[in-house]
Structure formats: structure tokens, C-alpha cells
Symmetry: C2
Subunit: 322 residues, 2 copies
């Protein structure tokens, strides 16, 4: 797995993170095992845990502490996806059935809680109170970002600034924490901790913007979900906000949000308008500018194979197709 | 508040826990404040935080560490209620509207997550890794208990043993942790830590059994929810399991679970059969036997005002009417 990904000096150590996640399924409670198999399936990019390990390379690379941290970050991420899918009522994610499409919504909420608990347990294994507090703060920020997204759903008055705030909370905060946490566990000096946090934050912003572009221009099969699904759920992202800006009149989005019977038609129209315009390029420009800030943050760090890998990750995030 | 409750030597210190919980609402995000106002309303018994403080009296009573612990326990409890209400689709709890009846289910799931995050943040303030791990383990146990409850809903083949396992997970575990955590933070010796844990566990079992009895025999107005609501949601508790045992034929419960149009009628019938029988007494017997075990655990602890208060709490839990 991950052979096409540039995780450089930590590539092999990621197997230990995988093993830590696997150990979760060792519970004497068959329904839980079945659910965990579904949501923890291998084959994810494991980008966030890789960031934690790479950040650890800028201090004392203590793998026995970095592995639980990395596992906790991935688990926190997966748990928020599980709750997210309940919220979105999503039937598939990356081409696989979601937990809530297979189990009750109800059970799925608790499955997410169970995973949060495990994530908290993993982070406690670092024995590092500062990292534990960072972890809990991040979960607060993510939840707040998700609530913000829910509260602004179907609201066409929101701006790009609101959008950036939202994705800072729901996505970039965890990327930042993955990097900062790794640096703290490795006892890197404060400059490096801050540099890595800034790298992670900006990478996360770029990552989410690209995600939101792909939702319009991506290939359904590669993505494993229908094109335009954000808009269908009332979530306005950068491309759709730009479309609203450009066509204040005769725009299919307000019609789509009016929940008429012709929703699918309005959705296709919005998707086509975005694809045919230069909105994807303009959106990529913004993603690239966050990518550049991530590279600038790296430039202040010592040159080493981990820094090189982090640089490649920026390029990968900007170029990915799914 | 709490004037009729026997929290003895910690009664006044509970105001500090209340203040810590109040501080949560100091966020610059109006919808969150509104939601937190609803779910953190004063007037709760604050039984679990009182247990943490009382347990702290068996060691070095460090209020600056015990208050965040107690707040984290209460918040963990409230967060699970918030998720529970999403699951049950409950409209009221203790006579007040539930979060999910006022906000989207979706937002409510994230509100619960936000509260978990705050709870984790509070527990991290103790600076005590052992307590942090205990906390994460407890959340795992609770989630597992809730999943178990969901998986066995409407399943009339379950036994009293299954029921006891479930309530041990969903309720007694947090009572046990409230006591154990307080003792650990206070650096009480291991015998006392274990004694207090055993007290908390048995108290929690008694508490939940009484709760489940009151769901059948309680006063709707005092309880702030309709009689028989557990059964209406498919949750079999001690009284309904005993009713199934006694009347294997001609029992209204399987009819109720068959989701016929006459559900309300079958529910009333089941409630009446339980109320008219000695099932409430038999159930109280079981609650009392857990109460006695809690008292036995206390007997091994040094005599002090906290021990006296813990003893009164057992009596209160067994006698409460709502």
C-alpha cells in the first residue's frame, strides 16, 4: 500500500500505525468488530499519521510515542467521518458503504463515540499532557466547524471568508495538530513546533479546497461518490460560492436549494456551469497559494529527508485526482 | 439548588464545578451558546461530580484538580445524554426540550462531540495520565453499552444477565470512574481507590435499576417524560424482562414490538400489568442488593463525613421518586 505516496523516511514505520489501528478490532463484541472492519478498512492514504511521524523527525524520533499519536490522529479523523456520514446521511464514502448505511444511525453515533474514546486512549499513551490538551482542543475546533457547516447549509448569503473559516476548523485544524503533535512528542524546539503547525495548517487548507474542487470536476468512479454531492447536501464550497458570485441572477443553486422536484436537473446545470468556467482554475489558485505558504513554513526548518517528504506531500495534495 | 441532597462536606464546593461548566458557554459562537444553555441547564442533581469530590476526601483533597475532574465527569455524562436523545429521538428529558428536538439531529451529534472534547480538556487539566486513561476507557465502555442496547432493542430473547451487563456499561461504569478518578487525583492508597470504585459501581447499578423501575411506576410530571418510554423505544429493562418471564404467553410486549397500530394500547397494558404486580418490589430488591454492596464497600473505608455522605447517597438513590 501507499507505494505511490511520498512518505519518504517514515513510509515503513506507518505499518506500526496500521498495526495499532488493527488492534482495535481485537474486541470480544462481534457487532463492533464488524463495524470497525467497515470503517477502518485499509487502503486509506494515512496522510495525517504520516504527517505526525514526519514531524517527529525534527526532534527525537521516538517511535513508541509517535505511533500512538499518529494512530490517535487517524482515529479522530475516522470518527469524525463516521459522525459526518450520519449527518450527511451518506450511503457511500470512497466507493464503500458507510457505517450508517449498513447499521442504524443510532449505532453509528455510538460507534463514532467509541472511536473517539480509543483515540483519546491512544493520545494518552504519549504521556504528554500538552499533546492531550492539543488533541481535545482540536476535537472542539472540528465539532465547531461542522456545526458551522450545518448552520450555514442552504444559506446563499455566506461568503468565501466564511468558507475558509469553516474548512480551517473542520479540516486544517487536524492537519496542523498532526504536525504540531508530532513535533511536541519529539521535543522539537518551539520554532520548529510552530513552523510545523503552520505547514500543517496551510497544507490542510489546500487539501480541503482541492477536495471541494474534485467534488465538481472529479471522476465519480475514482472518487467513489456522486459528483456535486456537497451542493446536493446544501454545503456551499469554494467553487459553488464563486458560481453564486458570478451569476447573481439566473443561478441554478437557489433553485436547487428550493428543493423543487427538478433538483437533479438544477444540480447537473450547476456542475456543468462550474466545469465549463474557469472557476476550477481560480479555486486551484487559492489552493496553490496555501500550498506555497506550507512550503514557506518548511523553508525555515532544517533540510532533511523528512522536510523533502513534506514538500512532496504539498505537491501530491495539489495534484491528486481523488 | 441541591438543598435536599446529602452531599455533606462537598456541598459548597460543587459551586465551583458549576462555575467550570458555566465557563463553557463563554464562546464567541451564538448558536453554540444557545445549545449549551439548553443542555447544561442548572438544576441537575450533579450526583456524579459530587461523587468525585467526596472520593477526593479519602486522600489529599486538592480542589483545583478535583473540580476539573468533576466537571469532566458531568460533561461526559451530559454529552452521552445528548447523543442518546438523538438516538432515541426523544423530545423531552426531565420536562425540558432535548437538543435534537430544537436543533437538527446533525448539529446535535456535533454538539455532543464538542462536549466530549471539552470533557477531555477538563480531564487533561488534572495532569494525571492515569485518570485520563480511565476517562477514555469509560467512554469506550459507555459507547459499547449503548451499542449493546441498540443491538438488543426489540429482542425479547434477552435475559436479565444481558440487562445487567448493559447497565454496567452504560451507567455504572461512569459512577465507578467518578469515584475512582476522585480517589486517584487525591492520591488515595490503592485499597481506597478500589473500595471507592466498587462503591461507585454498585451505586450506579442501583441507580439505573431504580431509574428503570421509575420509568414504569413513576409520575409523568415528576419525571418529565411519558411512562413506559423505554419499552416504547424497544428497550427491555428489568421490569419488562420480569414481565416477559412471568407471562410467556399472552404478553402485550411482543405485540407492542410488532409495531401494530395498537401500540399505545399494548404499552398501557404492559405498564398496568407491571404496576399491579410485585415486579416493582422484586426489581427494588435487586436495586437494594446493589445498594448493600455499595455500603459494604464503604465499610472498609475510614469513617469520616465523606463516608457518611456516600452512605446517605445510597439511601437517596434507592428512595428517589424521579
Amino acid at each position: 500500500m501507499n507505494t505511490d505516496l511520498p512518505y519518504g523516511p517514515v513510509q515503513d514505520d506507518l505499518a506500526q500505525v496500521e498495526a495499532a489501528l488493527d488492534a482495535l478490532r481485537d474486541v470480544d463484541f462481534p457487532p463492533m468488530v464488524e463495524m470497525l472492519n467497515l470503517v477502518l478498512a485499509k487502503g486509506g492514504k494515512r496522510l495525517r499519521p504520516a504527517l505526525s511521524l514526519l514531524a517527529g523527525k525534527f526532534g527525537h524520533y521516538k517511535l513508541d510515542l509517535l505511533v500512538p499519536l499518529a494512530a490517535s490522529i487517524e482515529l479522530l479523523h475516522t470518527a469524525t467521518l463516521v459522525h459526518d456520514d450520519v449527518i450527511d446521511n451518506a450511503a457511500t464514502r470512497r466507493g464503500r458503504p458507510t457505517a450508517n448505511s449498513v447499521f442504524h444511525n443510532t449505532t453509528t453515533v455510538m460507534l463514532g463515540d467509541y472511536m473517539f474514546a480509543h483515540a483519546a486512549n491512544f493520545v494518552a499513551r504519549t504521556g504528554n499532557i500538552r499533546v492531550i490538551r492539543l488533541f481535545s482542543h482540536t476535537l472542539m475546533t472540528i465539532a465547531r466547524g461542522e456545526i458551522g457547516q450545518d448552520m450555514t447549509a442552504y444559506d446563499t448569503r455566506q461568503t468565501v471568508r466564511h468558507y475558509l473559516q469553516r474548512i480551517a476548523g473542520k479540516t486544517a485544524s487536524l492537519f496542523a495538530t498532526a504536525c504540531e503533535g508530532g513535533a511536541i512528542v519529539a521535543e522539537a524546539n518551539q520554532d520548529r513546533v510552530e513552523g510545523l503547525r503552520s505547514y500543517g495548517y496551510n497544507l490542510g487548507m489546500a487539501f480541503q479546497i482541492v477536495d471541494d474542487i474534485l467534488d465538481f470536476v472529479g471522476d465519480e468512479e475514482e472518487m467513489g461518490k456522486p459528483v456535486g454531492s456537497d451542493l446536493m447536501q446544501g454545503t456551499l464550497t469554494l467553487p459553488s460560492l464563486l458560481l453564486l458570485d458570478r451569476y447573481p441572477k439566473d443561478n441554478p443553486i437557489p433553485n436547487l436549494f428550493a428543493r423543487s422536484r427538478r433538483r437533479q436537473e438544477y444540480l447537473s446545470q450547476a456542475v456543468e456551469m462550474i466545469r465549463q468556467s474557469d472557476i476550477p482554475q481560480e479555486s486551484y489558485e487559492m489552493a496553490r497559494s496555501f500550498g506555497e505558504k506550507a512550503q514557506e513554513a518548511l523553508a525555515a526548518l532544517p533540510r532533511n529527508p523528512a522536510r523533502r517528504a513534506l514538500g512532496h506531500i504539498v505537491a501530491y495534495v495539489l495534484e491528486r485526482r481523488s
